[in-house]
């Protein structure tokens, strides 16, 4: 039963991941990533990460992906040019990815870690439950928790500053900005005269 669940989850994960990089329309890529994330949440459940599986679905597949969908719809279908700055990039990139996978697989299977060839030790009932993770977060990892909350605040403020609508002068093209600069320079020159 566990094997069936693992392979279903793995197929969902891999299919979603490959669809993300294979589909040309960014909107479909975002939808493929949602499939990937939900399958990954299933794998987290198999590894007894109950709270992380729930957080994965609620935060990632829910909130973050909604953000992606909005931006993909706002920006529209950006057509990627077929021109390649590096000749043969289309073929070199998958080869490099495959080489990386082979290297990592050799490192994993050839490592002397004995614990990874087992199913892991038997753990108590509350392993990975929200209460256990919450207790760890608020006792042992309190500094990491507070730092993460501060980082989230800074990121939210930064996003508002970056993407917010600027008042006048309106952000125009770089040509406009240059024109404005020269205009102010002329204005400064007129002051002494």
């Amino acid at each position: 039963m566990t094997q069936v669940c693992f392979f279903l989850g793995a197929i969902g994960c891999l299919g979603g991941a490959i669809a993300v990089i294979a589909l040309r329309n960014p909107f479909y890529s975002v939808l493929a990533l949602i499939v990937h994330l939900i399958s990954l949440a299933g794998l987290f459940l198999l590894l007894q990460g109950e709270f992380l599986a729930a957080a994965q679905i609620v935060v990632y597949a829910g909130a973050v992906m909604v953000l992606y969908v909005f931006v993909a719809a706002y920006v529209g279908n950006v057509d990627e040019p077929l021109w390649e700055p590096i000749p043969g990039q289309r073929f070199i990139a998958p080869v490099l990815g495959l080489a990386l996978f082979v290297e990592l697989a050799i490192a994993i299977t050839g490592s002397g870690l004995e614990a990874i060839d087992t199913r892991g030790p038997t753990v108590e009932l509350g392993f990975g439950s929200p209460s256990a993770i919450g207790k760890l977060l608020l006792e042992r990892f309190l500094i990491a928790f507070e730092a993460a909350s501060l980082l989230l605040l800074v990121a939210a403020v930064g996003a508002v500053v970056l993407a917010g609508r600027h008042p006048s002068p309106s952000p125009g093209t770089p040509d406009d900005a240059r024109g404005r600069d020269s205009a102010t320079r002329e204005g400064l020159e007129e002051v002494p005269g």
Binding site: I21, L33, L47, A93, L100, A115, T122, A155, A163, T173
Partner: protein
């Protein structure tokens, strides 16, 4: 299932993410591929946490999810700002910091 299976799957997902970053040129899709890589790392963290019977790895994975959310927010903000200023959304053209 042995923990090795999970680790190999996470390596495969990471390699797919790396190929995506190398292959695609739309910044939006490159951010999605970064998500793929971070999630592959999360899977490995959970697998190790299960193999050691220790929950610290799960807290680590949770913090990684927070960092991923921050990165997405700032990255999407930059994409929207570039789109508003009519800068072409292509990473080959987005090479100067000055907008």
């Amino acid at each position: 299932m042995d923990i090795t299976w999970y680790l190999v799957l996470s390596a495969l997902l990471f390699a797919v993410g790396v190929s995506g970053v190398l292959l695609r040129r739309s910044p939006l899709v490159i951010l999605l591929c970064l998500e793929l890589m971070l999630n592959a790392g999360n899977l490995a963290l959970l697998a190790f946490s299960r193999s050691l019977g220790n929950q610290d790895g799960q807290v680590f994975a949770l913090i990684v999810m927070v960092i991923a959310a921050c990165e997405v927010v700032v990255g999407l903000g930059i994409i929207v700002a570039a789109y508003r200023r009519r800068i072409p959304l292509n990473v080959d053209d987005l090479r100067s910091l000055r907008g």
